[in-house]
Amino acid sequence: MTLTTRQARLVSRTCLIIALSVVAVPFVFPFLWMVSSGFKSATEIFGQPSLIPRVWRWQNYLELLEYQPFARQYFNSLYIAVAVTVLTLAISSLAGYALARMRFAGAGLLMLFLLSALMVPEEVTIIPNFFLIRSMGLMDTHAPLILLPVFGSHGVMATFLMRQYFLAIPKELEEAGRMDGLSRFGIWWRIALPMSRPALAAVSIITFLFSWNLFLEPLVFISSLEKFTLPLALSNFTDSYGLPLWHLQLAATSLAVVPILIVYLIAQRQIIESFALSGVKG
């Protein structure tokens, strides 16, 4: 008995889907297990494993709010990420526009310098930055968590992404703007920016997530509990021996991860494209 091409295709497709599903397990399972364990009691967590909690312990979520100022920490992450995103958008699109459209002495050299910043990891400059921030009197404030991402390699990446996009906008549109008497700033604001919404969206998405997930900088610069950001707060659910309080930690982690995942599931296409566009993160 031989298979028709149609049947052969069906078989190979089914095999492909089965194979992909098996590979998908370690990508999906951690999320499910995290959410489920966040509803278990400290004892059930180490009991017979089951994806559905025997008793749904909503108290975990109340307890974690008592354990540390988690709502405040959540808000810190949120407002810092928004501030970083807005500042990055403004600064990178201004510089990206100048680098794409304006002719000025030193532009080539500036590009080269910025490119070099793209490749240097934060770990290399974190020690001098620590002394710099300290001498500015900004220790244990949110300022370094905003300034360093905006002006660090992430901001430079955003600048190049914007520049790339501006280069593709037809020059004629800007000429028309100039005829209408717009200044450079006016052209940037009224013509270039509205035309580059996809790039602005991409920069917003990756910048927000970059700030939201930042860990080394908060770890180095922040010391008071109520100034913690989420990643720092999550790492802080430990008992007096430094051992994790799993049920609280996993409940808190769910609170930090699930909203992002929901937004991601809704806008997955746009989000994935943004990362593809940036191409250099990670």
Binding site: M34, A98, V120, P121, I127, T253, G279, G282
Partner: protein, 309 residues
């Protein structure tokens, strides 16, 4: 005749403002880039020069004063302190374990997911989901899953009769665990880059090769793989640099342990600088990291130039 004359006269008053226009543009341009330039000087170039200087000094913690000691910190790292080579070895083991695994998996997934079929969006979404998740959350959950007896992974293995190791407490297994969980976290990014590159390859190439009677493997080997070379190079360097930077993942999953088995360069810099306050030594380590990343970048640029020729 009359025309050219008027042209000349009208052209003359134009010349002066044209020059100043260019100048004006330059001034405006510098205003546009000034926040970026200022930030670059203060938070990047300044600190980079400072770390070079710091690396040549020794710090007195009490007086907070730096004494110039030349290359002592480098000598310490390279020949005195036994930790350094161990750390460097760990960093290379991490990179050499992670990069091929990540790239092979990314390319395999991309090949499976670059053509539309029912469910393709679902699988792309799934494989990319860990990329948008915070590394801290990811590391916390995996640390939970990889606990000795009670961990879900070992319980799963026990159900098929395998006695799993205490993943994060045995040096070699801990390294394997951080590599694999990091690959799962980041592979989606490279997968997406590969999918974009695959979709940019004209379908005719493959069709032509198939007409010539090429097998799937031959098509991949002779047509697709060479066309992917520029993407592969970029992905290779990005992933390599990324693996030298890995910090939060290690910090939360193993804390560099057990027995310093997962103590990698980025973590070592943090520990020396911010836990033991060996500012000079930590700065020398940072410079060494800088050089490693620089070398990788230069290799990429030269290869790319060669590629274009």
């Amino acid at each position: 005749m009359a025309d050219t004359l008027t042209d000349k006269t009208s052209a003359r008053p134009w010349r002066a403002p044209r020059l100043s226009l260019r100048r004006r543009e330059a001034i405006e341009a510098w205003l546009f880039v000034s926040p970026t330039v200022a930030g670059f000087l203060v938070f990047f170039l300044g600190p980079l020069l400072a770390v070079m200087y710091f690396s040549l000094t020794e710090w007195n913690l009490l007086t907070q004063e730096a004494t110039f000691v030349g290359v002592k910190n480098y000598v310490d790292a390279l020949s005195v302190n036994p930790d350094f080579w161990h750390v460097l070895r760990n960093s290379f083991v991490f990179a050499i374990g992670l990069v091929p695994l990540n790239m092979t998996l990314a390319l395999t997934l991309a090949l499976a997911l670059s053509r539309p079929f029912r469910g393709v969006v679902f699988f792309r979404t799934v494989f990319f989901a860990p990329v948008v998740t915070s590394a801290v959350a990811w590391a916390i959950v995996w640390r939970f899953l990889l606990q000795g007896e009670a961990g879900a992974v070992n319980q799963l293995l026990a159900s098929v009769g395998i006695d799993g190791p205490n993943w994060l407490r045995e040096p070699d297994w801990a390294m394997v665990a951080v590599i694999v969980t990091r690959v799962i976290k980041m592979v989606g990014l490279n997968m997406i880059l590969y999918i974009a590159a695959l979709q940019a390859i004209p379908r005719d190439y493959e069709a032509a090769a198939r007409l010539e009677g090429a097998s799937n493997w031959q098509i991949f080997r002779m047509v697709i793989w060479p066309l992917l070379a520029p993407t592969t190079l970029v992905i290779f360097v990005i992933t390599m640099i990324g693996s030298f930077k890995v910090f939060d993942h290690i910090y939360l999953m193993t804390g560099g342990g057990p027995e310093n088995g997962t103590l990698v360069l980025a973590f070592y810099i943090y520990e020396q600088g911010f836990k033991f306050f060996n500012v000079g030594y930590a700065s020398a380590l940072a410079m060494i990291m800088f050089v490693i990343v620089l070398v990788l970048t230069v290799i990429q640029m030269t290869l790319r130039r060669k590629d274009m020729r």
